[in-house]
Amino acid sequence: MNGAEKKRRKSSWWYLLFLIQFVVILWPPLYNKIEPTLIGLPFFYWFQLAWVIVSAVFTAVVYWATRD
Protein backbone atom coordinates (compact mmCIF):
# COMPACT_ATOMS: atom_id res chain seq x y z
CA MET A 1 0.00 0.00 0.00
CA ASN A 2 1.57 3.28 -1.06
CA GLY A 3 1.25 6.62 0.73
CA ALA A 4 -1.55 8.05 -1.40
CA GLU A 5 -3.66 4.95 -0.97
CA LYS A 6 -3.12 4.97 2.78
CA LYS A 7 -4.33 8.55 2.91
CA ARG A 8 -7.45 7.67 0.92
CA ARG A 9 -8.30 4.79 3.24
CA LYS A 10 -7.89 6.93 6.31
CA SER A 11 -9.87 9.88 5.05
CA SER A 12 -12.78 7.73 3.84
CA TRP A 13 -14.02 7.40 7.44
CA TRP A 14 -15.37 10.89 6.99
CA TYR A 15 -18.02 9.48 4.67
CA LEU A 16 -19.73 8.00 7.76
CA LEU A 17 -21.05 11.52 8.37
CA PHE A 18 -23.31 10.93 5.37
CA LEU A 19 -24.63 7.74 6.94
CA ILE A 20 -25.62 9.62 10.10
CA GLN A 21 -27.80 12.07 8.21
CA PHE A 22 -29.41 9.30 6.18
CA VAL A 23 -30.42 7.40 9.29
CA VAL A 24 -31.69 10.43 11.19
CA ILE A 25 -33.70 11.99 8.41
CA LEU A 26 -35.21 8.73 7.15
CA TRP A 27 -36.58 7.77 10.57
CA PRO A 28 -39.83 9.77 10.89
CA PRO A 29 -40.80 8.47 14.39
CA LEU A 30 -37.83 10.47 15.64
CA TYR A 31 -39.30 13.82 14.67
CA ASN A 32 -43.03 13.34 14.08
CA LYS A 33 -44.09 15.44 17.07
CA ILE A 34 -45.24 18.95 17.98
CA GLU A 35 -43.12 19.62 21.07
CA PRO A 36 -40.69 21.22 21.61
CA THR A 37 -41.73 24.11 19.40
CA LEU A 38 -39.35 26.81 18.22
CA ILE A 39 -40.72 30.32 17.59
CA GLY A 40 -44.10 28.64 17.24
CA LEU A 41 -42.93 26.05 14.69
CA PRO A 42 -43.72 22.41 15.56
CA PHE A 43 -40.68 20.15 16.08
CA PHE A 44 -41.50 18.22 12.87
CA TYR A 45 -40.82 21.35 10.81
CA TRP A 46 -37.92 23.06 12.49
CA PHE A 47 -36.01 19.83 13.12
CA GLN A 48 -36.02 18.86 9.44
CA LEU A 49 -35.17 22.38 8.33
CA ALA A 50 -32.30 22.40 10.83
CA TRP A 51 -31.00 19.15 9.32
CA VAL A 52 -30.77 20.85 5.95
CA ILE A 53 -28.16 23.10 7.51
CA VAL A 54 -26.48 20.27 9.45
CA SER A 55 -26.20 18.19 6.28
CA ALA A 56 -24.68 21.10 4.36
CA VAL A 57 -22.08 21.49 7.13
CA PHE A 58 -21.36 17.73 7.07
CA THR A 59 -20.88 17.82 3.32
CA ALA A 60 -18.53 20.78 3.62
CA VAL A 61 -16.55 18.93 6.31
CA VAL A 62 -16.24 15.86 4.08
CA TYR A 63 -15.21 18.09 1.18
CA TRP A 64 -12.37 19.68 3.16
CA ALA A 65 -11.32 16.43 4.82
CA THR A 66 -11.14 14.35 1.63
CA ARG A 67 -9.63 17.01 -0.60
CA ASP A 68 -6.48 15.79 -2.26
Binding site: Q21, P29, I39, G40, F44, Y45, A56
Partner: protein, 516 residues
Amino acid sequence: MPDINWTALIVFILLFGFITWLGFAAARWRKGDLDLLNEWGLGGRRFGTVVTWFLVGGDVYTAYTFVAVPALAFGAGAVAFFAVPYTIIIYPLLFLVFPRLWNVCHKHGYITAADFVRGRFGNRWLALAVAVTGIIATLPYIALQLVGIQVVIGALGVTGNGLAADLPLVIAFAVLAAFTYSSGLRAPASIAIVKDTLIYVATFAIIIVVPLKLGGFAHIFAAIPAKKVLLAVPGDHTTGSYSAYATLALGSALALFLYPHSMTAILSANSGRAIRRNAAILPGYSFMLGLLAMIGLFVIAAGIADMPAYAEGFKHFGSNFAVPALILHIFPSWFIGVAFAAIAIGALVPAAIMSIAIANLYTRNIHREFVNRSPTNKQEAQMAKWVSLVAKLGALVFVLFIPTKYAIELQLLGGIWIIQTLPAVMLGAYTRWFNDWALLLGWAAGTFAGTAMAIASKLTPTFALTLGGYTLPGYSALYTVLLNLLIAVVLTPVFNGMRAGRAPVDQTAEADYLAS
Protein backbone atom coordinates in the same frame (compact mmCIF):
# COMPACT_ATOMS: atom_id res chain seq x y z
CA MET B 1 -61.36 34.94 -12.34
CA PRO B 2 -60.36 38.50 -11.33
CA ASP B 3 -59.99 41.29 -13.89
CA ILE B 4 -56.60 41.89 -15.44
CA ASN B 5 -54.16 43.34 -12.92
CA TRP B 6 -52.37 45.83 -15.20
CA THR B 7 -49.53 46.84 -12.88
CA ALA B 8 -48.68 43.22 -12.19
CA LEU B 9 -49.00 42.32 -15.85
CA ILE B 10 -46.66 45.12 -16.98
CA VAL B 11 -43.98 44.18 -14.42
CA PHE B 12 -44.39 40.57 -15.52
CA ILE B 13 -43.99 41.40 -19.21
CA LEU B 14 -40.95 43.65 -18.59
CA LEU B 15 -39.14 40.90 -16.66
CA PHE B 16 -40.09 38.37 -19.30
CA GLY B 17 -38.77 40.67 -22.03
CA PHE B 18 -35.50 41.08 -20.16
CA ILE B 19 -34.84 37.35 -19.93
CA THR B 20 -35.79 36.91 -23.60
CA TRP B 21 -33.03 39.35 -24.53
CA LEU B 22 -30.69 37.59 -22.09
CA GLY B 23 -31.44 34.19 -23.62
CA PHE B 24 -30.39 35.34 -27.09
CA ALA B 25 -27.39 37.33 -25.83
CA ALA B 26 -26.17 34.21 -24.00
CA ALA B 27 -24.92 32.77 -27.31
CA ARG B 28 -21.95 35.12 -27.00
CA TRP B 29 -21.21 34.24 -23.36
CA ARG B 30 -17.95 32.25 -22.97
CA LYS B 31 -18.09 32.00 -26.71
CA GLY B 32 -17.75 28.62 -28.34
CA ASP B 33 -18.49 27.02 -31.68
CA LEU B 34 -22.24 26.27 -31.41
CA ASP B 35 -21.94 23.84 -34.33
CA LEU B 36 -20.42 21.34 -31.89
CA LEU B 37 -22.81 19.28 -29.75
CA ASN B 38 -20.47 19.62 -26.78
CA GLU B 39 -20.74 23.44 -27.03
CA TRP B 40 -24.46 23.72 -27.78
CA GLY B 41 -25.62 20.93 -25.48
CA LEU B 42 -23.15 21.24 -22.57
CA GLY B 43 -21.97 24.85 -22.80
CA GLY B 44 -18.49 23.55 -23.61
CA ARG B 45 -18.23 22.11 -20.05
CA ARG B 46 -16.95 25.47 -18.88
CA PHE B 47 -19.28 26.40 -16.01
CA GLY B 48 -17.55 27.00 -12.67
CA THR B 49 -18.86 26.45 -9.15
CA VAL B 50 -21.17 29.47 -9.08
CA VAL B 51 -22.82 29.07 -12.48
CA THR B 52 -23.25 25.35 -11.80
CA TRP B 53 -24.99 26.25 -8.56
CA PHE B 54 -27.51 28.41 -10.40
CA LEU B 55 -27.89 25.92 -13.22
CA VAL B 56 -28.46 22.82 -11.08
CA GLY B 57 -30.63 24.85 -8.72
CA GLY B 58 -32.66 26.18 -11.64
CA ASP B 59 -32.96 22.67 -12.93
CA VAL B 60 -33.90 20.74 -9.81
CA TYR B 61 -36.15 23.31 -8.16
CA THR B 62 -38.49 23.94 -11.05
CA ALA B 63 -41.52 26.20 -11.30
CA TYR B 64 -43.66 23.14 -10.97
CA THR B 65 -41.89 22.27 -7.71
CA PHE B 66 -42.64 25.71 -6.40
CA VAL B 67 -46.31 25.36 -7.24
CA ALA B 68 -46.83 21.65 -6.55
CA VAL B 69 -45.02 21.14 -3.22
CA PRO B 70 -46.99 23.87 -1.42
CA ALA B 71 -50.10 22.60 -3.24
CA LEU B 72 -49.51 19.14 -1.78
CA ALA B 73 -49.02 20.64 1.69
CA PHE B 74 -52.20 22.64 1.22
CA GLY B 75 -54.13 19.52 0.24
CA ALA B 76 -52.49 16.69 2.18
CA GLY B 77 -50.56 18.38 5.01
CA ALA B 78 -47.33 17.17 6.61
CA VAL B 79 -46.56 14.44 4.07
CA ALA B 80 -45.54 17.16 1.56
CA PHE B 81 -42.58 17.87 3.81
CA PHE B 82 -40.94 14.69 2.48
CA ALA B 83 -39.40 17.16 0.02
CA VAL B 84 -37.03 18.17 2.83
CA PRO B 85 -35.46 14.76 3.64
CA TYR B 86 -35.43 14.19 -0.11
CA THR B 87 -33.30 17.23 -0.75
CA ILE B 88 -31.09 16.37 2.23
CA ILE B 89 -30.26 12.96 0.75
CA ILE B 90 -29.57 14.06 -2.82
CA TYR B 91 -26.41 15.98 -2.00
CA PRO B 92 -24.33 13.18 -0.47
CA LEU B 93 -25.30 11.17 -3.57
CA LEU B 94 -24.20 14.02 -5.79
CA PHE B 95 -20.95 14.27 -3.84
CA LEU B 96 -20.14 10.56 -3.96
CA VAL B 97 -21.17 9.45 -7.44
CA PHE B 98 -21.12 12.38 -9.81
CA PRO B 99 -17.53 13.61 -9.66
CA ARG B 100 -16.58 10.10 -10.85
CA LEU B 101 -19.10 10.24 -13.66
CA TRP B 102 -17.98 13.74 -14.60
CA ASN B 103 -14.36 12.61 -14.82
CA VAL B 104 -15.06 9.62 -17.04
CA CYS B 105 -17.48 11.57 -19.27
CA HIS B 106 -14.98 14.39 -19.66
CA LYS B 107 -12.17 12.00 -20.53
CA HIS B 108 -14.18 10.13 -23.20
CA GLY B 109 -16.37 12.99 -24.49
CA TYR B 110 -19.61 11.40 -23.23
CA ILE B 111 -22.54 13.81 -23.29
CA THR B 112 -25.33 11.63 -21.85
CA ALA B 113 -25.74 8.85 -19.29
CA ALA B 114 -26.47 6.48 -22.18
CA ASP B 115 -23.12 7.44 -23.79
CA PHE B 116 -21.42 6.37 -20.59
CA VAL B 117 -23.35 3.09 -20.35
CA ARG B 118 -22.51 2.34 -24.02
CA GLY B 119 -18.81 2.84 -23.35
CA ARG B 120 -18.75 1.07 -20.00
CA PHE B 121 -20.79 -2.02 -20.87
CA GLY B 122 -20.39 -2.10 -24.66
CA ASN B 123 -24.05 -2.95 -25.20
CA ARG B 124 -26.01 -0.67 -27.55
CA TRP B 125 -29.37 -2.12 -26.45
CA LEU B 126 -28.69 -1.34 -22.79
CA ALA B 127 -27.66 2.17 -23.84
CA LEU B 128 -30.86 2.42 -25.89
CA ALA B 129 -32.92 1.42 -22.84
CA VAL B 130 -31.25 4.17 -20.80
CA ALA B 131 -31.78 6.74 -23.55
CA VAL B 132 -35.42 5.88 -24.23
CA THR B 133 -36.25 5.81 -20.51
CA GLY B 134 -34.66 9.23 -20.14
CA ILE B 135 -36.60 10.73 -23.03
CA ILE B 136 -39.97 9.30 -21.99
CA ALA B 137 -39.54 10.25 -18.34
CA THR B 138 -38.60 13.83 -19.23
CA LEU B 139 -41.35 14.70 -21.72
CA PRO B 140 -44.20 14.91 -19.17
CA TYR B 141 -41.85 16.91 -16.94
CA ILE B 142 -41.58 19.59 -19.63
CA ALA B 143 -45.36 19.58 -19.94
CA LEU B 144 -45.68 20.20 -16.18
CA GLN B 145 -43.46 23.27 -16.44
CA LEU B 146 -46.03 24.67 -18.85
CA VAL B 147 -48.74 24.00 -16.31
CA GLY B 148 -46.80 26.27 -13.90
CA ILE B 149 -46.86 29.08 -16.49
CA GLN B 150 -50.55 28.49 -17.19
CA VAL B 151 -51.46 28.90 -13.52
CA VAL B 152 -49.71 32.27 -13.12
CA ILE B 153 -51.02 33.63 -16.40
CA GLY B 154 -54.51 32.67 -15.25
CA ALA B 155 -53.89 34.29 -11.87
CA LEU B 156 -52.85 37.54 -13.58
CA GLY B 157 -56.38 37.67 -14.92
CA VAL B 158 -55.45 37.04 -18.54
CA THR B 159 -58.29 34.89 -19.81
CA GLY B 160 -60.11 34.36 -23.05
CA ASN B 161 -61.92 31.81 -25.07
CA GLY B 162 -60.57 29.08 -27.31
CA LEU B 163 -57.20 29.76 -28.90
CA ALA B 164 -56.91 33.26 -27.45
CA ALA B 165 -56.82 31.77 -23.96
CA ASP B 166 -53.74 29.78 -24.86
CA LEU B 167 -51.97 32.56 -26.73
CA PRO B 168 -49.77 33.79 -23.82
CA LEU B 169 -48.54 30.25 -23.24
CA VAL B 170 -47.80 29.77 -26.93
CA ILE B 171 -45.83 33.03 -26.99
CA ALA B 172 -43.83 32.04 -23.90
CA PHE B 173 -43.00 28.76 -25.54
CA ALA B 174 -42.04 30.25 -28.86
CA VAL B 175 -39.59 32.49 -27.00
CA LEU B 176 -38.18 29.53 -25.11
CA ALA B 177 -37.81 27.43 -28.24
CA ALA B 178 -36.08 30.21 -30.15
CA PHE B 179 -33.41 31.03 -27.59
CA THR B 180 -32.71 27.39 -26.81
CA TYR B 181 -32.24 26.74 -30.52
CA SER B 182 -29.85 29.63 -30.97
CA SER B 183 -27.89 29.62 -27.68
CA GLY B 184 -28.10 26.03 -26.38
CA LEU B 185 -27.31 25.43 -22.71
CA ARG B 186 -25.84 28.91 -22.30
CA ALA B 187 -29.37 30.36 -22.43
CA PRO B 188 -30.85 28.57 -19.39
CA ALA B 189 -27.55 29.01 -17.54
CA SER B 190 -27.67 32.79 -17.82
CA ILE B 191 -31.41 33.03 -17.21
CA ALA B 192 -31.11 30.75 -14.16
CA ILE B 193 -29.15 33.50 -12.39
CA VAL B 194 -32.04 35.96 -12.82
CA LYS B 195 -34.66 33.34 -12.06
CA ASP B 196 -33.11 32.18 -8.81
CA THR B 197 -32.61 35.72 -7.59
CA LEU B 198 -36.30 36.44 -8.19
CA ILE B 199 -37.37 33.17 -6.57
CA TYR B 200 -35.28 33.87 -3.46
CA VAL B 201 -36.72 37.38 -3.13
CA ALA B 202 -40.30 36.13 -3.56
CA THR B 203 -39.92 33.23 -1.12
CA PHE B 204 -38.34 35.29 1.63
CA ALA B 205 -40.94 38.01 1.19
CA ILE B 206 -43.71 35.41 1.64
CA ILE B 207 -42.07 33.69 4.58
CA ILE B 208 -41.55 37.00 6.41
CA VAL B 209 -44.74 38.86 5.52
CA VAL B 210 -47.30 36.05 5.86
CA PRO B 211 -46.52 35.04 9.48
CA LEU B 212 -46.54 38.74 10.45
CA LYS B 213 -49.97 39.20 8.89
CA LEU B 214 -51.36 36.01 10.40
CA GLY B 215 -50.01 36.67 13.90
CA GLY B 216 -46.95 34.41 14.11
CA PHE B 217 -46.20 30.73 13.56
CA ALA B 218 -47.92 29.56 16.75
CA HIS B 219 -51.15 31.19 15.55
CA ILE B 220 -50.82 29.71 12.08
CA PHE B 221 -50.27 26.15 13.23
CA ALA B 222 -53.11 26.43 15.76
CA ALA B 223 -55.44 27.28 12.87
CA ILE B 224 -54.52 24.16 10.86
CA PRO B 225 -56.44 20.91 11.45
CA ALA B 226 -54.28 18.70 13.72
CA LYS B 227 -54.22 15.78 11.31
CA LYS B 228 -52.52 17.93 8.70
CA VAL B 229 -49.76 19.21 10.99
CA LEU B 230 -48.10 15.83 11.61
CA LEU B 231 -47.88 12.45 9.89
CA ALA B 232 -50.56 9.98 10.95
CA VAL B 233 -49.16 7.55 13.54
CA PRO B 234 -49.27 4.03 12.03
CA GLY B 235 -51.66 1.46 13.47
CA ASP B 236 -50.90 -2.20 14.22
CA HIS B 237 -49.18 -4.40 11.63
CA THR B 238 -48.30 -1.55 9.34
CA THR B 239 -45.53 1.00 8.99
CA GLY B 240 -48.17 3.37 7.62
CA SER B 241 -47.27 6.91 6.76
CA TYR B 242 -43.76 6.55 8.23
CA SER B 243 -42.50 4.14 5.59
CA ALA B 244 -44.37 6.05 2.89
CA TYR B 245 -42.64 9.27 3.96
CA ALA B 246 -39.15 7.79 4.17
CA THR B 247 -39.34 5.77 0.94
CA LEU B 248 -40.76 8.73 -0.99
CA ALA B 249 -37.80 10.79 0.16
CA LEU B 250 -35.20 8.12 -0.59
CA GLY B 251 -36.70 6.96 -3.90
CA SER B 252 -37.12 10.50 -5.20
CA ALA B 253 -33.55 11.30 -4.20
CA LEU B 254 -32.15 8.27 -6.01
CA ALA B 255 -34.16 9.14 -9.13
CA LEU B 256 -33.31 12.81 -9.29
CA PHE B 257 -29.81 12.82 -10.72
CA LEU B 258 -30.67 10.03 -13.15
CA TYR B 259 -32.98 12.42 -15.01
CA PRO B 260 -31.31 13.53 -18.22
CA HIS B 261 -31.69 17.22 -17.40
CA SER B 262 -29.85 16.82 -14.08
CA MET B 263 -27.10 14.92 -15.86
CA THR B 264 -26.80 17.67 -18.48
CA ALA B 265 -26.43 20.35 -15.83
CA ILE B 266 -23.87 18.32 -13.89
CA LEU B 267 -21.77 17.41 -16.92
CA SER B 268 -21.58 21.05 -17.96
CA ALA B 269 -19.52 21.86 -14.84
CA ASN B 270 -15.86 22.55 -15.48
CA SER B 271 -14.50 20.05 -12.95
CA GLY B 272 -15.38 17.28 -10.52
CA ARG B 273 -14.38 19.68 -7.78
CA ALA B 274 -17.04 22.20 -8.84
CA ILE B 275 -19.61 19.40 -8.38
CA ARG B 276 -18.35 18.51 -4.90
CA ARG B 277 -18.44 22.13 -3.82
CA ASN B 278 -21.98 22.33 -5.11
CA ALA B 279 -23.04 19.41 -2.96
CA ALA B 280 -22.23 21.61 0.02
CA ILE B 281 -23.83 24.83 -1.23
CA LEU B 282 -26.92 23.53 -3.05
CA PRO B 283 -28.77 22.90 0.26
CA GLY B 284 -29.42 26.66 0.16
CA TYR B 285 -32.22 25.75 -2.21
CA SER B 286 -33.43 22.88 -0.02
CA PHE B 287 -33.96 25.24 2.86
CA MET B 288 -36.06 27.46 0.64
CA LEU B 289 -38.08 24.48 -0.59
CA GLY B 290 -38.82 23.54 3.02
CA LEU B 291 -40.04 27.06 3.68
CA LEU B 292 -42.21 26.85 0.58
CA ALA B 293 -43.77 23.60 1.73
CA MET B 294 -44.83 25.40 4.89
CA ILE B 295 -46.36 28.16 2.80
CA GLY B 296 -48.92 25.60 1.62
CA LEU B 297 -49.97 25.24 5.26
CA PHE B 298 -50.15 29.03 5.62
CA VAL B 299 -52.74 29.06 2.85
CA ILE B 300 -54.94 26.77 4.94
CA ALA B 301 -54.49 28.97 8.00
CA ALA B 302 -55.27 32.16 6.05
CA GLY B 303 -58.61 30.70 4.97
CA ILE B 304 -58.01 31.85 1.40
CA ALA B 305 -59.64 28.81 -0.16
CA ASP B 306 -63.05 29.98 1.06
CA MET B 307 -62.78 33.54 -0.26
CA PRO B 308 -65.09 34.19 -3.23
CA ALA B 309 -62.38 36.18 -5.07
CA TYR B 310 -60.29 33.04 -5.55
CA ALA B 311 -63.07 30.49 -5.91
CA GLU B 312 -62.81 30.35 -9.68
CA GLY B 313 -59.03 29.98 -9.61
CA PHE B 314 -59.25 27.02 -7.25
CA LYS B 315 -62.01 25.54 -9.37
CA HIS B 316 -59.89 25.86 -12.49
CA PHE B 317 -56.42 24.91 -11.20
CA GLY B 318 -57.21 22.93 -8.05
CA SER B 319 -54.73 23.14 -5.18
CA ASN B 320 -52.04 24.33 -7.63
CA PHE B 321 -53.75 27.70 -7.22
CA ALA B 322 -52.83 27.84 -3.49
CA VAL B 323 -49.56 29.78 -3.82
CA PRO B 324 -50.73 32.19 -6.53
CA ALA B 325 -53.86 32.91 -4.46
CA LEU B 326 -51.75 33.66 -1.38
CA ILE B 327 -49.52 36.00 -3.40
CA LEU B 328 -52.57 37.79 -4.86
CA HIS B 329 -54.06 38.09 -1.40
CA ILE B 330 -51.17 39.65 0.50
CA PHE B 331 -48.91 41.56 -1.89
CA PRO B 332 -49.15 44.88 -3.76
CA SER B 333 -49.60 44.65 -7.52
CA TRP B 334 -46.01 45.37 -8.54
CA PHE B 335 -44.73 42.57 -6.32
CA ILE B 336 -47.35 40.17 -7.67
CA GLY B 337 -45.77 40.83 -11.07
CA VAL B 338 -42.31 40.02 -9.69
CA ALA B 339 -43.40 36.84 -7.92
CA PHE B 340 -45.37 35.52 -10.87
CA ALA B 341 -42.54 36.33 -13.26
CA ALA B 342 -40.27 34.33 -10.94
CA ILE B 343 -42.54 31.30 -11.31
CA ALA B 344 -42.93 31.66 -15.09
CA ILE B 345 -39.21 32.21 -15.71
CA GLY B 346 -38.59 29.39 -13.28
CA ALA B 347 -40.47 27.17 -15.72
CA LEU B 348 -38.45 28.22 -18.75
CA VAL B 349 -35.05 27.31 -17.30
CA PRO B 350 -35.72 23.62 -16.59
CA ALA B 351 -37.89 23.29 -19.72
CA ALA B 352 -34.95 24.51 -21.81
CA ILE B 353 -32.48 22.17 -20.09
CA MET B 354 -34.88 19.23 -20.39
CA SER B 355 -35.38 19.76 -24.11
CA ILE B 356 -31.60 20.02 -24.58
CA ALA B 357 -31.12 16.80 -22.61
CA ILE B 358 -33.69 14.99 -24.74
CA ALA B 359 -32.00 16.33 -27.87
CA ASN B 360 -28.60 15.10 -26.70
CA LEU B 361 -30.01 11.63 -25.96
CA TYR B 362 -31.81 11.27 -29.27
CA THR B 363 -28.90 12.59 -31.31
CA ARG B 364 -26.17 10.60 -29.63
CA ASN B 365 -27.81 7.37 -28.55
CA ILE B 366 -30.57 6.76 -31.06
CA HIS B 367 -29.80 8.62 -34.29
CA ARG B 368 -26.05 8.14 -34.28
CA GLU B 369 -26.27 4.58 -33.01
CA PHE B 370 -29.05 3.29 -35.25
CA VAL B 371 -29.56 5.68 -38.19
CA ASN B 372 -26.50 7.62 -39.30
CA ARG B 373 -23.37 6.15 -37.76
CA SER B 374 -20.90 8.79 -38.86
CA PRO B 375 -22.45 12.25 -38.81
CA THR B 376 -20.24 15.32 -39.14
CA ASN B 377 -20.02 17.49 -36.01
CA LYS B 378 -22.20 20.07 -37.66
CA GLN B 379 -24.88 17.55 -38.64
CA GLU B 380 -24.92 16.23 -35.10
CA ALA B 381 -25.39 19.68 -33.54
CA GLN B 382 -28.03 20.60 -36.12
CA MET B 383 -29.96 17.41 -35.42
CA ALA B 384 -29.93 18.18 -31.69
CA LYS B 385 -31.29 21.68 -32.29
CA TRP B 386 -34.20 20.32 -34.29
CA VAL B 387 -34.98 17.61 -31.75
CA SER B 388 -35.07 20.20 -28.94
CA LEU B 389 -37.74 22.06 -30.95
CA VAL B 390 -39.77 18.91 -31.54
CA ALA B 391 -39.62 17.93 -27.84
CA LYS B 392 -40.95 21.31 -26.77
CA LEU B 393 -43.63 21.35 -29.40
CA GLY B 394 -44.75 17.92 -28.23
CA ALA B 395 -44.99 19.18 -24.65
CA LEU B 396 -46.97 22.23 -25.75
CA VAL B 397 -49.47 20.15 -27.72
CA PHE B 398 -49.79 17.86 -24.73
CA VAL B 399 -50.62 20.70 -22.34
CA LEU B 400 -53.03 22.41 -24.72
CA PHE B 401 -55.06 19.37 -25.69
CA ILE B 402 -54.78 16.83 -22.89
CA PRO B 403 -56.01 17.32 -19.30
CA THR B 404 -53.30 18.30 -16.77
CA LYS B 405 -54.14 15.21 -14.73
CA TYR B 406 -52.45 13.00 -17.33
CA ALA B 407 -49.24 15.03 -17.31
CA ILE B 408 -49.07 14.64 -13.53
CA GLU B 409 -49.71 10.91 -13.71
CA LEU B 410 -47.15 10.44 -16.47
CA GLN B 411 -44.60 12.40 -14.48
CA LEU B 412 -45.22 10.06 -11.55
CA LEU B 413 -44.65 7.06 -13.81
CA GLY B 414 -41.56 8.82 -15.19
CA GLY B 415 -39.98 8.80 -11.72
CA ILE B 416 -40.61 5.06 -11.44
CA TRP B 417 -39.11 4.45 -14.88
CA ILE B 418 -36.04 6.66 -14.59
CA ILE B 419 -34.90 5.05 -11.32
CA GLN B 420 -34.58 1.73 -13.20
CA THR B 421 -31.43 3.09 -14.87
CA LEU B 422 -29.72 3.33 -11.47
CA PRO B 423 -27.81 0.03 -11.56
CA ALA B 424 -26.30 0.73 -14.99
CA VAL B 425 -25.52 4.41 -14.43
CA MET B 426 -24.80 5.00 -10.72
CA LEU B 427 -23.44 1.59 -9.81
CA GLY B 428 -21.77 1.46 -13.22
CA ALA B 429 -19.73 4.46 -12.13
CA TYR B 430 -18.22 2.26 -9.44
CA THR B 431 -18.11 -1.23 -10.88
CA ARG B 432 -18.07 -3.20 -14.13
CA TRP B 433 -19.09 -6.34 -12.21
CA PHE B 434 -22.61 -6.48 -13.67
CA ASN B 435 -23.34 -8.33 -16.90
CA ASP B 436 -24.86 -6.03 -19.53
CA TRP B 437 -27.75 -8.36 -20.42
CA ALA B 438 -28.50 -8.95 -16.72
CA LEU B 439 -28.75 -5.18 -16.30
CA LEU B 440 -31.10 -4.96 -19.27
CA LEU B 441 -33.39 -7.69 -17.91
CA GLY B 442 -33.34 -6.08 -14.46
CA TRP B 443 -34.32 -2.78 -16.09
CA ALA B 444 -37.19 -4.45 -17.96
CA ALA B 445 -38.48 -6.24 -14.86
CA GLY B 446 -38.29 -3.07 -12.74
CA THR B 447 -40.05 -0.98 -15.37
CA PHE B 448 -42.81 -3.55 -15.79
CA ALA B 449 -43.33 -4.16 -12.05
CA GLY B 450 -43.21 -0.42 -11.29
CA THR B 451 -45.84 0.36 -13.89
CA ALA B 452 -48.04 -2.46 -12.58
CA MET B 453 -47.68 -1.24 -8.98
CA ALA B 454 -48.53 2.33 -9.97
CA ILE B 455 -51.64 1.16 -11.78
CA ALA B 456 -52.62 -1.10 -8.87
CA SER B 457 -52.38 1.86 -6.48
CA LYS B 458 -54.57 3.97 -8.80
CA LEU B 459 -51.67 6.10 -10.08
CA THR B 460 -50.55 7.30 -6.69
CA PRO B 461 -46.87 6.96 -5.72
CA THR B 462 -47.23 4.65 -2.73
CA PHE B 463 -47.91 0.95 -3.03
CA ALA B 464 -49.06 -1.08 -0.03
CA LEU B 465 -46.62 -3.99 -0.05
CA THR B 466 -47.75 -6.89 2.15
CA LEU B 467 -45.19 -9.20 3.72
CA GLY B 468 -46.23 -11.91 6.21
CA GLY B 469 -49.24 -10.06 7.59
CA TYR B 470 -47.37 -6.75 7.69
CA THR B 471 -48.24 -3.88 5.41
CA LEU B 472 -45.38 -1.68 4.26
CA PRO B 473 -46.73 1.25 2.25
CA GLY B 474 -43.87 2.66 0.21
CA TYR B 475 -42.80 4.40 -2.96
CA SER B 476 -43.15 1.97 -5.90
CA ALA B 477 -39.96 3.33 -7.50
CA LEU B 478 -37.87 2.23 -4.52
CA TYR B 479 -39.45 -1.22 -4.27
CA THR B 480 -39.04 -1.94 -7.95
CA VAL B 481 -35.46 -0.71 -8.24
CA LEU B 482 -34.64 -3.23 -5.49
CA LEU B 483 -36.27 -5.95 -7.61
CA ASN B 484 -34.31 -4.69 -10.63
CA LEU B 485 -31.07 -4.87 -8.68
CA LEU B 486 -31.84 -8.33 -7.34
CA ILE B 487 -32.44 -9.66 -10.85
CA ALA B 488 -29.25 -8.06 -12.15
CA VAL B 489 -27.23 -9.59 -9.31
CA VAL B 490 -28.71 -13.09 -9.73
CA LEU B 491 -28.46 -13.16 -13.52
CA THR B 492 -24.95 -11.70 -13.80
CA PRO B 493 -23.08 -14.94 -12.95
CA VAL B 494 -25.55 -16.95 -15.08
CA PHE B 495 -25.05 -14.81 -18.18
CA ASN B 496 -21.31 -14.50 -17.63
CA GLY B 497 -21.16 -18.31 -17.55
CA MET B 498 -23.09 -18.61 -20.80
CA ARG B 499 -20.88 -16.06 -22.51
CA ALA B 500 -17.67 -17.79 -21.33
CA GLY B 501 -15.19 -14.93 -21.48
CA ARG B 502 -16.42 -13.10 -24.59
CA ALA B 503 -17.51 -10.01 -22.65
CA PRO B 504 -17.65 -6.70 -24.55
CA VAL B 505 -14.72 -4.38 -24.01
CA ASP B 506 -14.96 -1.73 -21.28
CA GLN B 507 -13.70 1.46 -22.95
CA THR B 508 -13.05 3.06 -19.58
CA ALA B 509 -10.21 2.44 -17.15
CA GLU B 510 -10.31 2.94 -13.36
CA ALA B 511 -7.97 5.93 -13.65
CA ASP B 512 -10.51 7.72 -15.89
CA TYR B 513 -12.88 8.01 -12.92
CA LEU B 514 -10.44 9.84 -10.69
CA ALA B 515 -9.53 13.50 -10.89
CA SER B 516 -6.41 13.98 -12.99
